[in-house]
Amino acid sequence: MTASIPDPARQAGAPDRLDGGEVVFEAKDVTKRYDMGEVAVNALRGVNLSLRASEFIVLLGPSGSGKSTLLNILGGLDVPTSGAVTYRGRDLSGADDATRTAYRRNNVGFVFQFYNLIPSLTARENVALVTEIVRDPMPPQEALRIVGLGDRMNHFPAQLSGGEQQRVAIARAISKRPEVLLCDEPTGALDISTGVVVLEAIERINRELGTATAVITHNAAVASIADRVVQLSDGLIVADRSNPVKTAARDLTW
């Protein structure tokens, strides 16, 4: 399903991320069914998707379309009911909790709609929370500088705006130098201008660090900053297209 379309937005001289990128995730015929008492919900009904190194994709779709479920399965938070998910050839679909925990710890950076910062830790400490437990992290200060919060490192979450809190969450996610960055509605709780700043940070990380990035949104406007847009509806991928022209995050309006 992966398209090998040249990226017109790509800067000259940059490594060929799309064509030469190794496949990071591979999802094959993934279904997910939740039994809620007497009702069964089929959140995913046979999804095939792959994500390559350095690729920036946006998962687009209305609420209930299954995009969060897919992201959670890719991130090792959940397991599929059937089908196979591999991360760099390692099977994730049958992995036990300890394996998935180690996988999240070492390979995945998560960003959520509601930041999920630890209120009792400062910005720097929230980042350090991660850097203390992984191999080869970047210094917390550096992660915070990347998201533009170098001067607010010693503030507690309660002293930061929503956008700033989300950028701390991003810094926390990237500080481990993850191979993939998974963002679930990172701008969902933010206004336009703040949302743009957050997206800029994500964009910059994908560009400068080459981290494979998947962003969930229900906001179609956001899709234009990605290399590729995957559209979900009712548990199925209904469209998978490459962006002919990537818009810079700062030029977004919605």
Partner: protein, 788 residues
């Protein structure tokens, strides 16, 4: 059922674990209240009815010998309803199957049964028959302990002649509810019994025909006890009266009253601790509930529910939890109370000891339960009522944190991020942290209060029977004999060392204060019966003419070393002398006075100056020695130390085990209730935070360490506080229970402290582990989806 009530039930069901943990704390408080109070009521009402029915005396006096006609003058004292003159003697007994000699107290009763003061209740058998001089009614405790029944006989030495007393009945008397010999610590039913014997036969045996040596008075309502006592003393003085005592000082009554006071104090303090802890727990849980239900409260208000409904709704939460506990506590309290009362049957002898649970007590428990609930719910209810709907629709602002004290002290760099999370959380919620620490500390304190009695009793026994008293056997003569008598004691088989003692009843007076007791005359430096200060463990110096007073007696008389007191000898020539207080010694019990034996002899102006002896004996020769004692008419009684100790252990050991079991159980319930609730509330508040950590790749162990580490730190902080609190509460309890005659020593050995601390930590760990299981089932997806 109204919708709001349905919400209440379902919400409560969701937090059932926490609710039950609090209910159990309340249940224990109510249980203690019911058990103690019902025992108090049962004992008191049984006692009062018993006293009334058996005409228990108000005033008691003993004397040397007075003619019977004096009885008429005693009856004529204003206020006296009935005067009972009696003949009372202690004799040595020879009970079949009992190697060591026992002591019998022979108390005269009329040949023909009539209503007398201190009337005997027949439990088995029949009353004595006139003209059959050897018939006796035996006290039930002694009969049970020695398996004696009507028809059996007991050998006794009456005034030097051996007689076989025939048991025709087994009975009880209000005078001997607590059957103990004066001067002893422990009731010994095997070796001390009361025998009621026909007046004529008893008087004949002791040359007391036409006379009496004991009198009990029943007073009319409103009689002035003190004046009666004074007039009685005046009448008896020429006849060797020792001074009358009121019922309050009668040994059996005093012991029962002491116990009643003890359970009344314990029945107030201990339930209050439990209900207080429960109120705090309710506060913590409801505070959390109101926070979580902010938006629900706002919605209810928006829908038009009045403030009162909201206030009642959250008050009902607390009431439901509290009333559940009250019901459980009442049922268990009634069961435990019944069991506790049957334990009293081992100590106190009543004809029937009926369990009685007054509905007023149950009502009181319910009221206290409601009070604890309302008190605990108060702050949260106020918060719910004050909440502005518009404001409450928005989520609560994020909690504010700052660097913790430890970090501000410059230790920040030493702390990992999880450690900082723990410390900042503890510091950010000082009230809740304090409640957790306080609750755990109280559970430890309650445990120490419950356990100290064991160590205290151990210390007392150790001081009394190992440090101070080194004799194996104590012998008392029927009346003082010449000092040479000590040689005859030394010649008894198996005796290795014999030490003389001269005990003389006196009234010690200083100004308006006076007390009646025996001065114990001992050799200069006694080797067997030693006068030891329990604090310094050094023996008192007796090589002078002065008197050594137990510190408590010195306080009662308000004298200090160097002062002088008046000693009025109550026997023989009844001389009155001024004697100097040489020193005081601290002792655990008794109002004792000690002197050099030669000084006591001078006080007495009498040549027959040996009242008994302390002996060490070769245990191999004991049977032979006992045989010799039983054949020696001059010996009235003997006390075998080992037998007293054994009897004590038999009586107390079983009860002690039960007591420790309940102490540990109840303290664990508090500790569990406190820690479990603290952990659940923390978990509920921070599940999102902990789930975020899990998402980031923290393991279960790592997030458990954050949640449980906080509790662990609080528990460790609580330990020293609990030890301190236990120390304070115990010393207060000792003070509350202290009497003129008696003060429990404060003694908690390190192993008891350790056991108490481990019990509390154990309960903490168990509740922590239960919460830990919840952590394992944390739904990572759910918590990330919803906003706080």
């Amino acid at each position: 059922m109204q919708a709001l009530d349905r919400k209440l039930f379902r919400d409560l069901w969701r937090i059932k674990g926490q609710a039950l943990a609090i209910s159990m704390v309340i249940a224990v408080g109510v249980l203690m209240l019911i058990a103690y109070r019902s025992n108090f009521d049962s004992l008191q009402s049984t006692r009062d009815v018993y006293y009334e029915r058996q005409r228990f005396g108000h005033v008691f006096a003993t004397l040397k010998r007075a003619p019977l006609v004096l009885g008429n003058r005693i009856s004529a004292i204003p206020g006296v309803a009935q005067a009972e003159t009696r003949v009372v003697f202690d004799v040595a007994l020879d009970v079949e199957g009992l190697a060591e000699p026992a002591t019998g107290r022979l108390v005269s009763i009329p040949e023909r049964q009539r209503e007398i003061v201190n009337d005997v209740v027949l439990v088995h058998g029949r009353y004595i028959e006139p003209g059959r001089s050897d018939e006796v009614i035996l006290s039930k405790g002694f009969a049970d302990a020695n398996r004696l029944r009507p028809g059996d006989t007991v050998g006794a030495i009456l005034n030097g002649r051996r007689r076989d007393l025939e048991i025709v009945g087994v009975g009880l008397s209000p005078e001997y509810v607590y059957t103990i010999r004066a001067g002893e610590m422990i009731p010994d039913n095997t070796r001390f019994g009361v025998f009621w014997m026909g007046r004529r036969a008893l008087a004949a045996a002791f040359d007391m025909e036409g006379g009496f040596n004991d009198v009990s008075l029943l007073l009319r309502p409103g009689a002035q006890e003190e004046r009666v006592i004074q007039e009685l003393d005046d009448l008896l003085r020429p006849y060797g009266g020792w001074g009358a005592i009121p019922r309050d000082l009668q040994l059996s009554h005093w012991s029962v009253q002491n116990e009643l006071n003890g359970i009344r104090v314990a029945g107030v303090i201990i339930p209050m601790v439990f209900l207080g802890v429960a109120a705090f727990l309710l506060h913590v849980v409801l505070h959390r509930i109101v926070s979580v239900q902010r938006e629900q409260i706002a919605t209810l208000k928006a829908l038009g529910y009045p403030q009162l409904s909201i206030a009642l709704h959250y008050t009902y939460w607390a009431l439901a939890i509290s009333l559940t506990g009250t019901v459980i506590g009442t049922v268990c309290g009634a069961l435990l109370g019944r069991g506790m009362l049957s334990m009293y049957n081992d100590f106190f002898r009543f004809p029937v000891l009926d369990y009685r649970l007054d509905p007023v007590v149950v009502a009181g428990a319910v009221v206290l339960g409601i009070f604890a609930a309302v008190f605990g719910a108060r702050a949260s209810v106020r918060r719910a009522v004050r909440l502005q709907p518009a404001e409450a629709m928005r989520p609560e602002p994020p909690a504010r944190y700052s660097a913790s004290l430890v970090e501000r002290l410059g230790l920040r760099r030493l702390l990992s991020q999880p450690a900082r999370i723990i410390l900042r959380n503890i510091e950010r919620q000082p009230v809740r942290s304090a409640i957790t620490i306080g609750g755990i500390a109280l559970s430890l304190a309650v445990l120490i209060v419950g356990m100290f009695a064991v160590d205290s009793l151990d210390l007392m026994m150790d001081m009394q029977f190992r440090v101070a008293q080194r004799q194996d056997l104590q012998l008392t003569f029927t009346e003082p004999i010449s000092p040479d008598g000590i040689y005859s004691l030394e010649r008894l088989p198996g005796v290795m060392l014999a030490e003389p003692v001269l005990s003389v009843p006196v009234r010690l007076r200083s100004g308006q204060r006076s007390r009646q007791l025996s001065i114990t005359g001992l050799p200069n430096s006694p080797q067997l019966f030693r006068v030891i200060d329990v604090e310094t463990l050094s023996p008192a110096d007796l090589s002078h003419d002065g008197v050594v007073l137990a510190e408590r007696l010195a306080d009662v008389l308000d004298v200090r070393p160097g002062d002088s007191i008046t000693a009025e000898v109550l026997i023989g020539n009844r001389s009155v002398r001024e004697i100097a207080v040489a020193s005081t010694v601290r002792q655990h019990m008794g109002l004792a006075a000690y002197m050099n034996i030669d000084s006591v002899r001078r006080l007495l102006h009498h040549d027959k100056t040996l009242s008994g002896g302390y002996l060490t004996v070769d245990s191999q020769a004991l049977p032979e020695l006992f045989k010799a004692i039983k054949e020696t008419p001059a010996i009235a009684g003997s006390g075998l130390k080992a037998a007293a100790l054994k009897s004590f252990q038999e009586t107390f050991a079983a009860n002690l085990g039960i007591m420790i079991f309940f102490n540990v159980l109840f303290a664990s319930i508090i500790a569990f209730g406190v820690v479990y609730n603290a952990a659940r509330v923390s978990l509920a508040e921070r599940s999102r935070e902990l789930a975020s950590l899990r998402v980031m790749g923290f393991t279960r162990q790592e997030i458990s360490a954050i949640l449980l580490g906080e509790l662990g730190i609080l528990a460790l902080l609580a330990l020293p506080l609990g030890l301190l609190l236990g120390y304070v509460m115990t010393s207060q309890l000792i003070k509350a229970m202290e009497t003129e005659l008696y003060a429990l020593p404060f003694s908690v050995v390190p192993s008891t402290y350790a056991l108490c601390a481990l019990t509390v930590l154990g309960a903490t760990v168990v509740s922590g582990l239960i919460v830990r299981r919840k952590l394992d089932h944390l739904d990572l997806l759910e918590v990330l989806k919803a906003k706080e």
